[in-house]
């Protein structure tokens, strides 16, 4: 009975499985059965810190995959929306005196949550303003506009939003002393508590995205990716659906940015530069753009690889810094896009299906033309 139900609803089953796995990981961290710490199991490679990061970036990636994989629009500046969320939260909660917000409000437990909401509305609004006129055009104009947007926002964060001095964003050093989140009197910190917060939000976003993909909007998006003209002829409002995808991805990115700010308790401009946006694209390519489940997978692979490279590269290359890992990113991106543009996860499952004698079905837009 249960098996049949799970087979009928594979996404629900996967969601439940993932939640169960994450619960077990969290339980191990808190209870430490048999004296085992969470990081002991993975030999110190994956810590709870890494898991929280994977959760946060998964939220960004779910939105980005909706935009790139389903609506077929490249975003080379997703870090701008991610940064907007982070800076909105940081400025509103740590620099509230500048904005003339009374201490009583700024110190209350609900204020940071309101700041998160504010960041999401701002990012979504900006995406709508930019997206509406540009997505009316055909071709990959969004790639160019988002690229400009990403670099613009990085410079704004770095240059104190263009205002003289550096009292708002703190220039290169960023903003410190961002408070942790809490609900009423209940602190959502230490990290073992925050882990559950982040992954709950991430799973909600995943579920939302899965529902979007399997709804009327999702079908419309896939139709657009397949052929804009044909879907237009079938009565799909192309620009409207593309803007929807862009706004959803911006809102998700901003939400993740806010969670990141409260996780680090500080923000600095570095993670939101062009390289940051590129890293998101690499993660998306690795996990498979047209796959919602590829999002956490891609983030996990890249973040864990990063840890391995960081320790491994030092032994191979004397004096190697963190920057050297970008060679690897570049080569990985090229190889994946040349040989398996549908991403590792989808490619592997397609390969397996082929082995079992079924015809591989590629997501629309990524299949090769003859």
């Amino acid at each position: 009975m249960l098996r049949r139900a799970l087979a009928r609803y594979p996404n629900t089953a996967a969601c439940l499985g993932m939640a169960l796995g994450l619960l077990i990981l969290g339980w191990i961290e808190i209870v430490q059965p048999g004296g085992f710490d969470f990081s002991d199991i993975t030999g110190g490679l994956v810590t709870l810190d890494t898991m929280v990061r994977i959760g946060i970036l998964s939220i960004v990636l779910v939105g980005l995959n909706l935009l790139m994989g389903y609506a077929g629009q490249i975003s080379l500046g997703q870090a701008a929306f991610y940064g907007m969320g982070a800076y909105a939260s940081a400025i509103l909660t740590a620099r509230y005196s500048l904005l003339g917000i009374p201490v009583a409000i700024a110190q209350s437990w609900w204020w940071p949550w309101l700041a998160i909401l504010f960041g999401m509305i701002a990012a979504g609004g900006l995406a709508y303003l930019i997206g509406r006129p540009i997505l009316n055009l055909r071709g990959h104009y969004l790639a160019m506009a988002t690229l400009g947007l990403g670099i613009m926002f990085y410079i704004l964060f770095r240059e104190n939003l263009g205002v003289p001095g550096d009292h708002i964003t703190g220039a290169f050093d960023g903003i410190t002393a961002v408070p942790r989140l809490r609900i009423g009197g209940f602190d959502l910190w230490p990290i073992s508590r925050y882990y559950f917060v982040v992954w709950t939000v991430a799973l909600i976003c995943l579920t939302l995205a899965l529902n979007i993909v399997n709804s009327r909007t999702g079908r419309a998006l896939r139709a657009i990716h397949g052929s804009e003209r044909a879907s237009q002829a079938a009565g799909v409002d192309i620009a409207h659906h593309k803007v929807q995808a862009l706004v959803v991805s911006a809102v998700f990115a901003s939400l993740a940015g806010s969670l990141y700010a409260h996780f680090q308790a500080a923000v600095s401009p570095k993670p939101f530069d062009f390289a940051g946006s590129l890293e998101l694209v690499v993660m998306s390519a690795v996990g498979g753009m047209a796959s919602i489940w590829g999002a956490p997978f891609g983030v996990g692979v890249i973040l864990i690889l990063k840890e391995v490279l960081r320790s491994g590269l030092r032994q191979v290359l004397r004096g190697a810094s963190g920057e050297h890992e970008i060679v690897f990113y570049g080569v990985l991106l090229v190889v994946i896009m040349v040989f398996m543009p549908e991403g590792i996860l989808v490619w592997t499952s397609a390969q397996l299906k082929e082995l079992r004698g079924r015809r591989a079905v590629l997501p629309p837009g990524l299949e090769r033309s003859p």
């Binding site: 990959h140 400009g148 240059e159 970008i326 090229v334």
Partner: protein, 337 residues
């Protein structure tokens, strides 16, 4: 432009925002007590930077026209040209400094061109049947790889290529009515003018150039005429790499080349190409010069750290109001791919 076009608000918004921008520049300049000399200096320096953007933009246009790809690896060619030239110049070749510089320039351009061709064969050619989205991401990956390899080869420190006139770090300068002009600027403008004449000759008068143009106009038609589109794609990348390398080498004495110089230069060249409409070489040149002047003026009257932001504001404004570029009258933008 007809009168009906003038009546639509969209037609007015573009020129109006340009006027507003100029007014803001003058207002901010007034507060800093700028005279005509300061403006001239800013414009002159802007023209120097703009010429480099123009060279890079032409690389974007060439590749886009022939293959329909926006080649984000273009910036890497700029960096490679400069870095290879510096390496050859700093090597222990038993030559006079002047002769060594010539060898360095030729070596830098030739080396970069080879790398450009290799790049096309290794990454674009195997994936030539993929969607444009995939191809664009591949060029992004190629850029990251090349920048990373440059970091391993040359490290993160800035290098020095001497000025062409003095063969020294200190360049010869001319003073004309209080405005300072570096001799290297003349080299940059002279080289670009030569390249433009050479390209015009190549595209108009040679069979290969005409074949390249045929590919840009209609790929299938060109193939039916017996033109190998694959070979033209290779040639377009070689040409783009050479253009980028030339830009990188002539600009090297005025900046300190580093492994990551290609990113910002490449992106601004791309903005210049968009201003020009992405399909036209003269448009790319005009776009580059305009962008150089505009960003230098804007940066001159505000925070200097904000310099890089203006080109991207321009990019978004152009995409919003004139996606077909500033030259063409039509409303229909180009289609990528």
């Amino acid at each position: 432009m007809s009168f009906t076009a003038l009546r639509s608000p969209r037609a007015w918004l573009g020129p109006l925002s340009v006027l507003a921008l100029i007014a803001v520049v003058f207002f901010l300049g007034e507060r800093m007590n700028f005279g005509p000399q300061q403006y001239m200096q800013l414009i002159l320096d802007g023209l120097r930077g703009g010429t480099i953007y123009a060279l890079i933009a032409m690389g974007f246009v060439t590749v886009f026209n022939v293959t329909g790809i926006i080649n984000f690896a273009q910036g890497a060619f700029v960096m490679l040209g400069a870095m290879l030239a510096v390496s050859i110049y700093d090597s222990s070749l038993p030559l006079m400094p002047a002769a060594k510089l010539v060898v360095a320039v030729i070596g830098g351009i030739a080396g970069t061109t080879l790398i450009g061709m290799l790049l096309e064969r290794l990454t674009i050619y195997p994936a030539r049947h993929s969607s444009p989205l995939t191809l664009i991401i591949i060029t992004v990956g190629a850029y990251i790889s090349m920048q990373g390899l440059a970091l391993i080869a040359w490290g993160a420190k800035p290098y020095v290529l001497p000025a062409f006139t003095t063969l020294d770090i200190a360049d010869k300068t001319f003073r004309i009515g209080g405005v300072v002009l570096k001799a290297q600027s003349l080299w940059i403008w002279g080289t670009t003018a030569l390249v433009l004449v050479g390209l015009a000759y190549f595209f108009e008068r040679t069979l290969t150039g005409k074949a390249l143009r045929a590919c840009a106009i209609n790929k299938r038609g060109a193939r039916l005429m017996g033109i190998s589109v694959n070979r033209m794609s290779l040639l377009a990348f070689a040409l783009a790499a050479a253009l980028g390398a030339i830009g990188g080498i002539v600009v090297a004495p005025t900046t300190r080349p580093t492994y990551d110089m290609g990113l910002v230069l490449g992106l601004k060249g791309f903005v210049a190409a968009i201003i020009g409409g992405l399909v036209s070489s003269p448009g790319a040149v005009i776009g580059g010069l305009l962008l150089g002047i505009l960003e230098n003026l804007a940066a001159g009257v505000t925070r200097s750290g904000m310099k890089d932001i203006y080109s991207f504001i321009v990019l978004i404004l152009v995409l919003l109001y004139r996606p077909q570029g500033i030259l063409r009258a039509g409303r229909k933008p180009v289609e990528a791919g």
